[in-house]
Chain length 331, copies 2
DNA sequence: TTGTAGGCGTTATCAG
DNA sequence: CTGATAACGCCTACAA
């Protein structure tokens, strides 16, 4: 039988209340009794029962990590970074693959809250709608919510976002340096960040005095086939181009293949940039120049925010991470 | 304030014990009172407090999913499948990225158990050593442990494995059909399953009456660079070959590239087979023939096992999943 | 079939 | 600074 707080109390000749005090680092304990109790705790290898604790505090040292699908490498990386950091702080992470539909998001959320999690982290801008359309944030003012790449206005909402504007600026500048001016963008999702990336592209082009026509944006499905599709449509459109920026690596790789099939050489004829710095971008040929959106930094920043929030300290509500353009052989 | 079992009791004019009984589907409740209580439960939207429950039962409806790193697509897929299935059963999944070292595995394990999880699922044969070298399985006889691709002998250990023998047989047979006989294998990890795959290769070759010399196995690091390395060493070795089976897709893709650089065409000169049916295998060129090890099926089978175990029903201790060879353009 | 009462392991309040 | 004692919400003998 595992020892309880009473066993410790008896062994140390104090009351259970005193044991509880040293357990929770309350100041009102004399150094002497504190030592005595700590010795016994160590000796009996006592660990407070988390359920009894939770029954009183209504909160457990666990957070929820919600993403639509952890198989998406970008989310897997972020979840990984978060989990590792949280574990160091003594928190566990419950994984939620919500699939992205509104009801499912909400259901997970309610279950997490019901189970007394100390916070929830939402990966991706998909969660924008869910929280936008419910009052869940204000319903649970004492639970902090953390968003990656998604900003929401609420006392208990905190965000870490990647600076997409900057990312597209980096892409466009790099291409210009390489002598390109006829640059296209392939958008592969209508999510908030997908739309933001596309408009950032236009901005970056404009800032450089280049053609920033919406015609230069092609919208396709995400993934390999979306990429081949994009190239077909680009070529059919007769729009002159020497470079393409894709909203995702896999889409870019599809594009790469189809460009080759059209007899176009990358990077000699056409330059290509991907997005996400996934493992696939390193092992296609040519290897893809791509945007690294720093999932590890995003993850640990969010956990930092979380920590300051649970400690009740003042903290930023919105942090922005600067992306990096990884130069490889496709530009 | 959330209603407690007492609120329900008062509202339904019964005792709290009766409410508890209907909550737990105990037979000893009259239909009439049951209905009455259930009506109130629904009306007040009552949800039993999980901590109070756990305080008594010492167990929560949560399982641990341990992998060395969820960023590895194969583990992400399995974890995904498990989480979705477990969620349907009312269980949450806590994600653990142990990194794979012995102490870390053990630490996670103890924390999970401490927190009263109802079971733990371990992904990959890496966990073999951890459990082999500890008595943790027998220390916690009432906690069921589930292993994917790893078999351990214990009353509370259950395994679902992929039939690697079969997989390599499929690979070799397919290559023979395509007219190959000089087949090499590239091993990229010394894990249990890595070793098993290599020896299965030898077996498959032998069964087909082909040369099954250990010389035909090349051992390299896992990943893209391991693949290029492998091809260099193969070519330097002067061993004649017309086909290579790689132990992982990314390694195979590295090999693909280097073969091309050596002026060898795939599949015309050399056939290549990968392993894991990862997304990368679909978007390299040529697209990779690869082994699909059915992570979705593995995941849901394990959850099925879990369910029958918690329900106390008799169940298999070891299930084997048949892999499938996905034919694409590299063979 | 139903109710009473005690216990699960902590924390918090209130005296002392 | 320390010790009783009452919650916290549910489950389960034991009684009725």
């Amino acid at each position: 039988m595992k020892p309880s707080i009473y066993d410790i109390a008896r062994e140390a000749n104090v009351s259970s209340a005193t044991v509880s005090r040293v357990l929770n680092n309350k100041p009102s304990v004399s150094a002497h009794t504190r030592n005595k109790v700590e010795e016994v705790i160590k000796r009996l290898n006592f660990q407070p029962n988390p359920f009894a604790r939770a029954l009183v505090s209504k909160r457990i040292p666990t957070v929820g990590i919600m993403s639509i699908d952890v198989r998406i490498p970008h989310y897997a990386s972020t979840a990984f970074a978060m989990e590792r950091e949280l574990f160091k702080l003594g928190y566990n992470s419950v994984l939620c693959n919500t699939g992205g539909d509104y009801d499912s998001n909400l259901k997970y959320l309610h279950i997490l809250i019901e189970k007394g999690i100390s916070g929830v982290m939402c990966l991706g801008s998909v969660f924008r709608d869910t929280f936008w359309n419910t009052s869940i944030l204000s319903e649970f003012p004492d639970i902090p919510f953390f968003f990656s790449n998604c900003v929401l206005q609420s006392d208990n909402a905190y965000s870490v976002i990647i600076d997409e504007r900057k990312a597209l600026k980096l892409c466009v500048s790099h291409l210009i340096e390489k002598g390109h001016s006829q640059i296209l963008y392939v958008k592969d999702t209508e999510s908030y960040s997908g739309i933001l990336k596309a408009s950032s592209f236009l901005h970056a082009m404009e800032a450089k005095g280049l053609c920033h026509d919406k015609e230069n944006i092609f919208t396709v499905n995400r993934g390999f086939d979306g990429g081949t599709d994009a190239v077909d449509r680009i070529i059919n459109s007769k729009i002159p181009f020497t470079a393409i920026i894709f909203g995702d690596d896999i889409t870019a790789i599809g594009g790469l293949k189809r460009l080759k099939e059209h007899g176009l050489s990358v990077p000699n004829d056409i330059a290509v940039i991907g997005y996400n710095n996934s493992i696939a971008s390193t092992c296609c040929s040519p290897a893809l120049t791509t945007v690294d959106n720093k999932t590890d930094i995003m993850g640990s920043l969010i956990v930092n925010l979380f920590q300051t929030v649970v400690e009740g300290r003042q903290t930023a509500k919105l942090l922005t991470v600067t992306p990096e353009l990884i130069l490889r052989d496709s530009t």
